[in-house]
């Protein structure tokens, strides 16, 4: 028997969401205990700050330019390499339960396999996963969760926030106590909400395995991604009136706007509602109208969702322990990208390479039985990326890392990271909206600096950029791009970025907005 792998992802979770990373509101004792027994990565970044590209990197272990999923709506080819297939070939039973999003969600022609299986209820999986039961952020669409809701609790569908409006644009309908966008009181019973559904279906799949099976299970929670509509029965956990505003939100409007104005122009254009650079952000919402109270209410609901995730993970870990697998279990916990949650006066996400969206929680709790130095508790400060996950799963399984994977297994401590050259992590953004708006960001995080350059598009002329000193300016308020004293450092980072960036093989067409 080998080691079992439970890969847990959330969607759109910030680094500071959990107690182990300094979060002071959501109670996350289960995740915190994984951190206390394992390795926490304090500078983990996605290779892209939206779902599909980031998840494609997780499953392939490849850069964006190699797997080609350069924006939401671009499908990962069915025959793309997959770590699940590698593990399946070596005898692992494999499953993905929850949100996959390797293929577009919005396709009424049902051209994509994940939608097809969600629509029919088949669970035979693909991409090397023997089993798939899929969910996303609500109860509509072509997922197994939506079908389960339709078949069993159809009266609850209207309780979820309706994400798309009549024009197929992302809605900014306001709700809650404060009129915050995409907030809704959802009367659904907790057991029927997708967080518990994902945990329950994971447990059901595990129950079907033999005791001596080796297995890899990707348990993928759709929360705390917007809309913010957790079960109403649970919202009492965090009263938004009791919260403090995020450190990253300058309350004084003039201060806030001066910070935004020091960044490339698309920041201010979005703030004023003149440009929405990401389809997933509500098309008609104007960030400048966001109030402090709305930020607090959104944050409170996010904390509630994170507590529910933590408890769901606890249930799954209990089920695993009951099967006698606890000693052989590796757990990897992370998310696909972050969320503004009020930083700079924004919600949601988009072409903005700041820590709100780029700094992720990442914890690896190696199997207690693993030995070989993996029982040491560590915090790794060197930069790592989600590109390192697939090779890590191979290493855990004792399988050679395939040549097509472009990362290497996660370091177990800083000494290991330094010895193996974990110096930098790259994050990129490309988008082309139906109206022609195109933006192209390339970022490198290295030596405590984050440097972003903008290639020419419809908003930028190619001269713009951002440079932040994380040690002295962790909130990323001071853009040093044009600081003469930092010019040589900036140029050095840009050269390093260019030397390590993987250019795309082709820019395939988006097949859906998301």
């Amino acid at each position: 028997m080998g080691r079992k792998i439970l890969f847990i992802t959330t969607d759109q979770m910030r680094y500071d969401a959990i107690g182990a990373n300094g979060g002071r509101v959501a109670r996350t004792p289960v995740i915190d205990s994984l951190a206390a027994e394992g390795i926490s990565y304090d500078r983990a970044q996605p290779q892209n700050v939206v779902c599909m590209p980031s998840r494609a990197t997780m499953v392939t272990g490849q850069n964006i330019g190699t797997h080609g999923v350069w924006m939401n709506g671009v499908p990962l080819p069915v025959d793309a390499p997959s770590v699940a297939a590698v593990l399946a070939d070596s005898g692992y039973k494999t499953a993905l339960i929850g949100k996959s999003h390797f293929e577009p969600l919005l396709d009424p022609f049902l051209r994509f396999e994940e939608n097809r299986q969600g629509f029919t209820g088949e669970t035979e999986g693909h991409r090397g996963f023997h089993h798939m039961e899929l969910a996303t952020h609500g109860a509509v669409g072509f997922t197994h969760y939506a079908k389960w809701i339709r078949d069993n609790h159809p009266e609850t569908i209207g309780g979820f926030f309706q994400v798309l409006d009549g024009n197929l644009e992302v809605s900014d309908v306001a709700g809650g106590d404060t009129g915050a966008p995409q907030v809704k009181v959802n009367p659904i019973e907790r057991d029927w909400y997708h967080t518990d559904w994902v945990a329950n279906r994971t447990i059901a799949w595990l129950d079907g395995l033999e005791a001596d099976d080796d297995w890899f299970c990707w348990m993928s929670f759709p929360d705390p991604h917007h809309p913010w509509d957790p079960p109403a029965s649970e919202t009492h956990r965090v009263n938004w009136r009791d919260l403090d505003l995020p450190e990253g939100y300058p309350q004084d409007a003039a201060t806030r706007e001066a910070i935004i104005d020091s960044k490339p122009r698309h920041w201010r254009l979005w703030y004023d509602g003149e440009l929405v650079g990401n389809y997933e952000a509500p098309a008609k919402w104007v960030p400048a109208t966001l109030t402090a109270e709305q930020i607090l209410e959104v944050n409170a609901l996010v904390h509630v969702e994170n507590e529910l995730i933590d408890e769901a993970i606890g249930q799954v870990l209990q089920a695993i322990a009951a099967r006698g697998w606890a000693d052989d279990l590796d757990v990897v916990f992370t998310t696909d990208h972050g969320e503004f949650q009020g930083d700079f006066g924004f919600l949601f996400k988009g072409p903005y390479h700041v820590d709100s969206l780029m700094r992720l929680p990442l914890i690896w709790r190696p199997a207690p039985s693993a030995g070989g130095g993996l029982d040491a508790v560590a915090r790794v400060s060197q930069p790592v990326g989600l590109i390192n996950l697939a090779p890590t799963f191979c290493a855990i399984a004792g399988v050679d890392v395939p040549e097509w994977m472009e990362g290497s297994p996660l370091p177990v401590d800083d000494a290991d990271a330094q010895a193996r050259g974990f110096e930098r992590v790259l994050t990129e953004w490309d988008s082309r909206q139906p109206d022609g708006t195109a933006m192209h960001l390339r970022s490198i995080t290295r030596d405590g600096m984050v440097c972003t350059t903008y290639r020419p598009g419809t908003v930028h002329d190619g001269t713009e950029g951002e440079l932040y000193d994380l040690a002295n300016d962790p909130l990323m308020h001071v853009n040093l791009w044009d600081d003469p004293a930092r010019r040589s450092l900036r140029d050095e980072l840009l050269l390093d970025l260019a030397a390590n960036f993987v250019e795309p093989i082709e820019m395939r067409h988006a097949q859906a907005p998301v």
Binding site: G73, L106, D107, P108, F109, L110, R111, N115, R116, F119, F142, G166, N167, L168, E169, Y279, P434, D435, H509, A510, Q511, A512, P513
Partner: protein, 135 residues
């Protein structure tokens, strides 16, 4: 309003290609994701594999200039749509198939762009194994 355009050179005569394009019921042979199609009284009704019906008014079916135009009327959230297919004998080998779409709201272009491209590629492949598709 979003505009989509695609075209393909097909190594068959314009008359041969028009036999397929000019028969609105034959869309099921080449357009992906369809379970059924009916044409009645100037209305084409598609049923997608997800069970969604798509109602289309046939705007133009001109056999002389080999032009087919249709307009989605529902229930997709479309406030304006015009799809145009032209089969052109341009004096070059084979013929040229042109497909353009104008649509409001703009996000619908994302939904249709990929499926139309796939459909045109299917049609070209169906009619001639060797085609030079360009976008």
């Amino acid at each position: 309003m979003a505009t989509l355009r695609t075209h393909a050179r097909i190594q068959r005569s314009a008359d041969d290609v028009w036999k397929v394009v000019g028969d609105p019921s034959r869309i099921i042979e080449w357009f992906p994701g369809l379970d059924a199609v009916t044409v009645e009284d100037g209305v084409r009704t598609l049923t997608t594999k997800s069970g969604l019906p798509v109602f289309e008014d046939i705007v133009t079916l001109d056999h002389d200039i080999r032009r087919f135009q249709y307009s989605i009327t529902g229930p997709l959230p479309v406030t304006y749509h015009l799809g145009t297919m032209d089969v052109i004998d341009d004096g070059q080998p084979g013929c040229l198939l042109m497909y353009s779409t104008e649509i409001v709201p703009e996000p619908m272009a994302f939904v249709l762009d990929g499926v139309i491209s796939e459909g045109i590629a299917n049609l070209a492949r169906m009619l001639d194994e060797h085609t030079e598709e360009q976008r």
